[in-house]
């Protein structure tokens, strides 16, 4: 039996044999096991698609009580068929340096990891601004990258491409933390109407409705706190109008300004 040293996954090949009489050929590896009845002296044909899992195989010809064997290596097909593309996070604040990452494992049509180095292109394109693109060569079948999120909110397409196969993930780029959070107050009878200015992130994206803004009033050693969701870009609340009270505002980890009622701003 003369075995080819290597065989490409899924390709046809033949194994020349010597001798005469009936025998059985086994090709056995961790991922596949085949058996073919053979006539010694004739080559054994393995059809395309019969041996398709990459790996090390032991080929054995058994004729009666005797057998002979050899190693056979099956390598992945060279052309990508599937990209396993892990892109995270699915939701990311705008303007974040290296905020989006992607890793691609490249597989052939038989789900063998293609370990031969090959270029993988990554492209992130959003609803506004220029797209970001780069090409990374795989190492051991994997390529990865990190990309900044855009400065404007919206859905971005994150595309990985190798050998004509493309896979897309959608990344939701959302506003970052509020920036320059400020409040003002107007008297309304016995109360104060406290209201934020338009709440935006540092890139000017409106902070989504429902984001909580916390108002805190301190007066005479007592503290009153109210959590208010943003509605139509602002948050507002009525608070007791104590002369000399201080009122401050915050949202998440971001602190805004503080005003003193009755003593000026």
């Amino acid at each position: 039996m003369t075995l080819p040293q290597t065989v490409t996954a899924g390709s046809a090949f033949s194994v020349p044999t010597s001798g005469s009489g009936p025998a059985v050929l086994y090709i056995v590896g961790p991922d596949q096991a085949l058996r073919r009845d053979v006539q010694l002296g004739n080559p054994v044909s393995i059809a395309a698609g019969d041996l398709y899992n990459a790996g090390e195989y032991l080929a054995i010809i058994v004729a009666g009580s005797s057998s002979s064997s050899g190693e056979l290596e099956v390598t992945p097909a060279p052309h990508p068929d599937t990209l396993s593309f892990l892109a995270t996070p699915s939701r990311v604040p705008v303007g974040l340096h290296n905020g989006i990452n992607g890793a691609v494992y490249v597989f052939d049509a038989y789900h063998n990891l293609i370990v031969t180095p090959m270029p993988v292109s990554f492209e992130l394109s959003g609803s506004s601004g220029p797209s970001q693109a780069r090409t990374i060569t795989t190492s051991h079948g994997v390529a990865w990258t990190e990309i900044d999120s855009a400065s404007k909110q919206g859905s971005a397409k994150f595309i990985a491409q190798a050998g004509g196969i493309a896979t897309t993930r959608v990344i939701d780029e959302v506003p970052g933390d509020p920036c320059g959070l400020t409040i003002s107050a107007q008297p309304d009878g016995a109360k104060l109407r406290v209201q934020t200015a338009l709440v935006r992130d540092c890139s000017g994206n409106p902070i989504p409705d429902g984001t909580i803004v916390t108002f805190t009033e301190n007066y005479n050693g007592a503290q009153t706190t109210a959590d208010v969701p943003i509605k139509k870009d602002i948050a507002q609340i009525d608070m007791p109008a104590y002369s000399g009270a201080t009122i401050s505002v915050a949202s998440g980890v971001v602190a805004g300004n503080e005003i003193r009622w009755g003593g000026g701003r």
């Binding site: 086994y26 990459a54 789900h111 051991h140």
Partner: protein, 165 residues
């Protein structure tokens, strides 16, 4: 189970059973792609779980019991191994694998922490049997590319592929 771990010239013994039939294991320092730092505990867990997966792999292919793969293999790796076990059973053969040595190196930790890739330069004996009759025995020296992903309580093998050295 016992594992002889050779790391940086040290021999670490994991005393969990008899030493006989246990492979020698050398863990090389990671040669890491990816921006995510790899904690020592994570690396140790990955190596431990991978070596345990070899035990299940050996038992499953020897006994033609695909269910033995379940604790350690998922996805493509499990599908392919289970398929081979089904084919072996159909042909009336089974395979005894005995790993002699592993030289392991972690080469990729994905930024999201959801996959780790490792290279295993492994030596093992493969013995194919037709019931009790040994059809052939071969000593194999090859390189496995392994991708592991975290499950509930352990890392599982998702890609398990012998590649050209």
């Amino acid at each position: 189970m016992s594992l002889r771990i050779l790391a940086a010239g040290c021999v670490l013994l994991f005393a969990t059973g008899a030493l006989a039939d246990q492979p020698s294991v050398q863990v090389q320092p990671p040669d890491l792609q990816g921006s995510r730092p790899l904690e020592k505990q994570t690396a140790a867990a990955v190596v431990r779980d991978y070596l345990e997966s070899w035990q299940k792999f050996r038992a499953a292919l020897d006994q033609n019991q695909a269910a033995l793969l379940d604790p350690d293999f998922v996805g493509t790796a499990r599908t392919k191994l289970a398929s081979a076990i089904g084919e072996q059973a159909k042909l009336g053969i089974h395979t005894h694998y005995q790993d002699e040595s592993h030289k392991l190196q972690i080469v990729f930790y994905s930024p999201d922490g959801l996959s780790i890739q490792m290279i295993d330069n492994v030596e093992y004996d493969q013995q194919v049997l037709d019931r009790d009759r040994v059809l052939a025995t071969q000593h194999v020296k090859t390189r496995y590319v392994v991708v592991m992903t975290p499950a509930e309580v352990r890392w599982k093998v998702r890609v398990f592929e012998a590649t050209p050295e």
